[in-house]
Assembly symmetry: C2
Homo-oligomer: 318 residues x 2
């Protein structure tokens, strides 16, 4: 078998790979992202790529190309991640493309921002496929966005799509970038956890951290929030209510400006909380539109947590 | 002389026409918009078109085409204004294109939304000309917007560009559309006047209404605000400070999402308050960007209050 394309979704926590042949996923693999420096991260990516090939019953020689979605600032031309603070060892420039290429026998490697790659995946093979004008919102540790306009991924001058840094409340909660009142400060899992710890330190009660421990986690993962919501935990409910409210403001403003056909909501929280979360966001957006009768379709992802890896493979021609 | 294109900017207060030949303005005319119904508005448009031709030393027979920018909802294909509440008689559908065409000897007539036409004008012949990705914000009675992306006017599904309905403050001031906290509620001249009257009724002092009377106006026009600001009027200063603040929030969020090359700020207030206003907005936007070092150019209009009429002529091929 030849002409297999590998897609790599490099995350702060996990590395997900897929092997695509004829646009179908024929193999996949997932490992934890090493926290021991660049060399180990590169080695893990290469091993996960080979594992996906093996799962597909193929060998490294069959790789036609590799696409990588990486968080942080990317130099697409040189294949360099210029800075990605969430991955240990990536605080300065890393020649991700060339290093992975060399380790896999000089195959073509393309890299792009992880969120934009996930949007590419949803547009090529997921729920955004029927639309030419669609915004993807990925609610994970942070809140990222990817814009497809006129059927093409909007790059702007290299940084388009940052819906997470829409100001939804002047003077509001502090965001990961130090500014106040951004969408990400209300809907990103990272800031939700900061807020939960603050509330606990003030004496408020929650099952969130007990559930976290029971699940053997060290972070309030999307799964922890989902379980706490199911249990009717008040703090989890309050925090997710706020996230829905903030998403409603940011997405209705974006819709009024862009008049999109659809908005796809994914990421860890989006995928894990699923349809009820998406429906609540839709209910927030609709009354805030200048044309409520002409609301965009509000959808979950079609590929779930494989959006990024599939999009990375699409980036490499898969 | 032949091949002259007429551009008409139909406003709630004024009708501005220009005659274009070889992309140059060779004639212009301005009249007050009749408040006595559709027939009189059509007659005034036709008279103003003919007056612009006469100012150019040409006659009706030389008209190659007419473009009209109109407020409200437009059926571009049929040339019908489906609803434009700010013009008397335009609360229901008006066959603006066909009626003007007939009155001028069956010339081609194109119509489009007034704000998008103004953006077309700025992009074709004004300060937006050097850019392929640029947002035009027209701060007048309301706050309208036009988006040029990839060198083309973004239509969306017919309603793109509504930057005025970006929510800048949840639970804030009531906007013209009844919603709370929109940019237009803080920066649109109409809502500024509502707010000024409220403050006066609560006992606050201002020279705004005295200046209005002295100028023989019945509304707080952009010129009234400009004069009050020059006099150091506290209420005018407070209201314009708020407008600048709101524009900073809405435009920085839009910039973070779209990564534009430039933002052009026009409309009555934008043009009348000029460079100091534009510079203050820029100073608000910059620190709110995710890439302050890569801020878009923030510019005034190149065509001033002729953006709309010139853009309308461009729409008709001029």
């Amino acid at each position: 078998m030849t002409e297999i394309t590998i897609g790599v979704d490099l995350g702060g926590t996990k590395i997900q790979t897929v092997a695509l042949h004829d646009k179908e996923i024929i193999g996949a693999h997932r490992v934890l992202t090493p926290t021991t420096g660049v060399d180990d991260v590169i080695a893990a990516i290469v091993a996960a790529a080979i594992a996906a090939m093996e799962a597909a019953g193929a060998s490294t020689a069959d790789i036609a190309g590799v696409g990588i979605g990486s968080p942080g600032h990317i130099d697409v031309v040189l294949g360099v991640v210029t800075r990605s603070p969430n991955i240990v060892g990536f605080n300065g420039p890393v020649e991700l493309g060339p290093l992975v290429s060399k380790a896999l026998g000089n195959v073509d490697v393309h890299i792009e921002n992880d969120v934009r790659v996930a949007m590419l995946g949803e547009h090529a093979r997921g729920n955004a496929a029927p639309y030419t004008d669609v915004l993807g919102v990925f609610v994970g540790t942070g809140v990222g966005g990817g814009l497809i306009l006129g059927g093409k991924l909007r790059q702007g001058r290299g940084a388009a799509g940052e819906i997470g840094h829409t100001r939804v409340k002047p003077g509001g909660r502090i965001c990961s970038d130090g500014q106040r009142g951004h969408l990400e400060a209300y809907a990103g899992r990272g800031q939700l956890e900061v807020r939960a710890r603050e509330l606990v330190s003030k004496g408020h009660r929650t099952e969130l951290f007990k559930i976290m421990e029971k699940k053997g986690r060290t972070r309030l993962s999307s799964g922890v929030f989902a379980a706490a919501l199911e249990d009717g935990d008040k703090m989890a409910t309050y925090l997710i209510d706020d996230a829905v409210w903030a998403l409603g403001i940011a997405l209705s403003s974006a819709q009024n400006l862009l008049d999109l056909e659809a908005i796809v909501i994914g990421g860890g929280l989006g995928d894990r909380l699923g349809a009820p979360f998406i429906e609540r966001i839709e209910a927030q957006i609709r009354p805030q539109l200048i044309s409520p009768d002409n609301a965009p379709a509000i959808l979950g992802t079609g590929l779930g947590d494989l959006s990024g890896a599939v999009g990375a493979a699409v980036l490499a021609g898969g």
